[in-house]
Symmetry: C2
Subunit: 476 residues, 2 copies
Amino acid sequence: MNNPQNILIIGAGLCGSLLALRLGQRGYRVTVMEKRPDLRKVEISAGRSINLAFSNRGNKAMKLVGMEDKVKKLCIPMNGRMIHDTQGNTFLSNYSGREHEYINSISRGDLNALLLDEAEKHENVNIYFNRKCQSVDFENTTAKFYDYESKTDFVEDADVIFATDGAGSILRKSYFLGKKFLFSFSQDYLSHGYKELSILPTETGEYKTYKNALHIWPRGSFMMIALPNLDGSFTVTLFLSYDEGDYNFNNLTSPETVTEFFEKEFPDALKLMPNLVDDFFKNPTSPLGTVKCSPWHFKGNTLLMGDAAHAIVPFYGQGMNASFEDVVEFDAVLNEYKNPKSKHDWETIFKAYEQNRKKDTDAIADLAIDNFHEMKEHVNHDLFKEKRHLEMALEKHFPKEYASKYSLVTFNEHMGYKDAMLKGRAQDKAILNMLADGDISTALDMTKMELKTILDRINSETQKILDEDNLAGLNK
Amino acid sequence: MNNPQNILIIGAGLCGSLLALRLGQRGYRVTVMEKRPDLRKVEISAGRSINLAFSNRGNKAMKLVGMEDKVKKLCIPMNGRMIHDTQGNTFLSNYSGREHEYINSISRGDLNALLLDEAEKHENVNIYFNRKCQSVDFENTTAKFYDYESKTDFVEDADVIFATDGAGSILRKSYFLGKKFLFSFSQDYLSHGYKELSILPTETGEYKTYKNALHIWPRGSFMMIALPNLDGSFTVTLFLSYDEGDYNFNNLTSPETVTEFFEKEFPDALKLMPNLVDDFFKNPTSPLGTVKCSPWHFKGNTLLMGDAAHAIVPFYGQGMNASFEDVVEFDAVLNEYKNPKSKHDWETIFKAYEQNRKKDTDAIADLAIDNFHEMKEHVNHDLFKEKRHLEMALEKHFPKEYASKYSLVTFNEHMGYKDAMLKGRAQDKAILNMLADGDISTALDMTKMELKTILDRINSETQKILDEDNLAGLNK
């Protein structure tokens, strides 16, 4: 398949390199400009998370481009959350009652390199590094770059420009500052920031704590998590308020207070982190923000995708998965229409894509905020624990009939995020209220028939909640 | 009372002039800079709505500054919505079942002039016009202005700066572009714009249609409204999509199509508007947007108030009322603390003010969007009409026990917008679902006792909805 349209992609991160690969496979002439050096050649400390959660929606995209097997080799399965209390006691809370449903820890760099390699196998795909986009003239479909190597500016012209340049997107900035059309935009910061730390491997290269889980130290108003890496280490992330509480990023300014804080709140982790103080003062503290905007496209000229269109907080482990799903959804829209030959065709395609997709990326943004509260607080609450326990039993005994909100979002890749959110929230509300009212039991020794009765009640309550909200116009 | 703190207010619109008056009354040295000419001396076509809805929350502020009686003289009571169908049939839907509860149409210019006059009576208040703010250096508490008269720039220094410079606030822009702190910000445009038109008085200066109502021509995906002026005219506003539907702002480009559109959709209004085509092509089409942001203040140096902090769409008639209530709420915080003597004191006050107030301005922003849909569509639906009919009966027979969402928001000025929203939405949901299920009757001849039974059921269903949402964490 050959397609004469010239496509410029700004940004060769995870979304950009996948998009380049897919559009290359479809026969477009693709040029990619990336501001960073080639991460396959240079060690990059990009200030971004080292590892990420990879799950079904991301894998759907890997299937689309024929990369599923190669990516699998990079994955470390995490079957559940390993919760750590302040005494160092732990318990494992599975993500699903179905054994084949788990999430994976994966290295951002390794995955990105794999996608770049695969994209470059197509001779119609050309990727350039060290080219920083400065602005996009979306009316004329050109972009201005600075070349760090030759130290010169240049302008790149294309039939269509895709911006996959992340949360700080230059195209999005050009939309905002250009004031050429009504551009709805939001940036919302949490009161908390994050800092990456590490648990290094043992001297013999072994994992110092349980490998196949996402570790959480929930402390109510703050928390710490850890994800495993292939080299035996864990990347640890502390989520903490900038200025509230006894300990916060603004007052943790000396080795003594940092150590005191960890001794009090994370004593078991501290034992595994002799490098804590070094990490703490070497690594930056970064903000946590959500970005939404609309429209994503300007006519048939330019389109935002991935974090550039919808940056989300990391608490559902869906950032990369949502960006990968963007490419799957965009590909489906391309299949629906004839191969675009003009700006007018691209405009139709961009409109249809945003129409299909935006409701879902808005939903995962909101779900990710919900999960911040769930992870730092709720996982420790009795009512929440009872709910999770019941849901695990339902998923185990009725694997085809029941899926929790977490499962709907993470493992049901054929349901959009919006529907998953509405159904999942209604289900949570039904269960929490029935539990609070003592309407349903969570005895350990329930028979399958007793469980089935509970399942039927949950389903009918959930449907009632959805119907009542619909009638009152609350599910828009 | 004398207070040595020097206060600079940017913007002498409704919020700025009220704030200047109140801070003047409290003894501060107040300087106000306004970019427009003095509206008491020059006819201004500012492109903003000519008349506004004034109700209890706004009046609370007028009481605070002792202006209630003077403002009352500018008010035209509107007791309800006068709904016009495409055949020109009308029916009046009261805003409340309590006779003393109504909203008022008031001239923006007259009210602003009154507040400016009153503020200038204080010798510690100085107001300058034709001074356009260009940027605010919030770290140094200075602002740069351009003087249209002398055609020169100047810098104004103050102990503290209040920006009441509206939806396009320069201080807010300085926060956003300055990137000195994490600034959450959103601008959200509706797909609809608006255009102001007019129904002029008869030759003898009489009103051409019923004076004491807010007229609505609801048409599902668009609508038109009209509010009376003291001179016998009505200011008419058409709310219409820019690019969707058979007729929209982008395709209404000739006198013929405009007339055709009005003949089809608003024939009764067209008869009263011989000046339609002139108005239509003379007046601008303006966008409808919501702005939210946080924090409103930078340390103890600067604070956003009114539309500068929270611009909302006009559909609840609460824009001015919310801005006036800002001043009441700010005044209450000033009462709580000692007179501020330092940046540190101001910071404490600004924090407390935003903590109290932001939840409520967020709520009225969302309520105003809800009401767009209610006004253009729901007012014509049978289920909605049944609900309104029942609520009127409840408010009439149980004036102290029942208040609709509209009444809670508009007439219950001692309940914050957030609580009014949560209670009002739960109540609406309870009633709509009971009506849809045939659980409650709306017979015209119900006895008071039958109504009381219904009221009790509504109250208990409403409480149940609130409790269930609370438990599920949905009312945050």
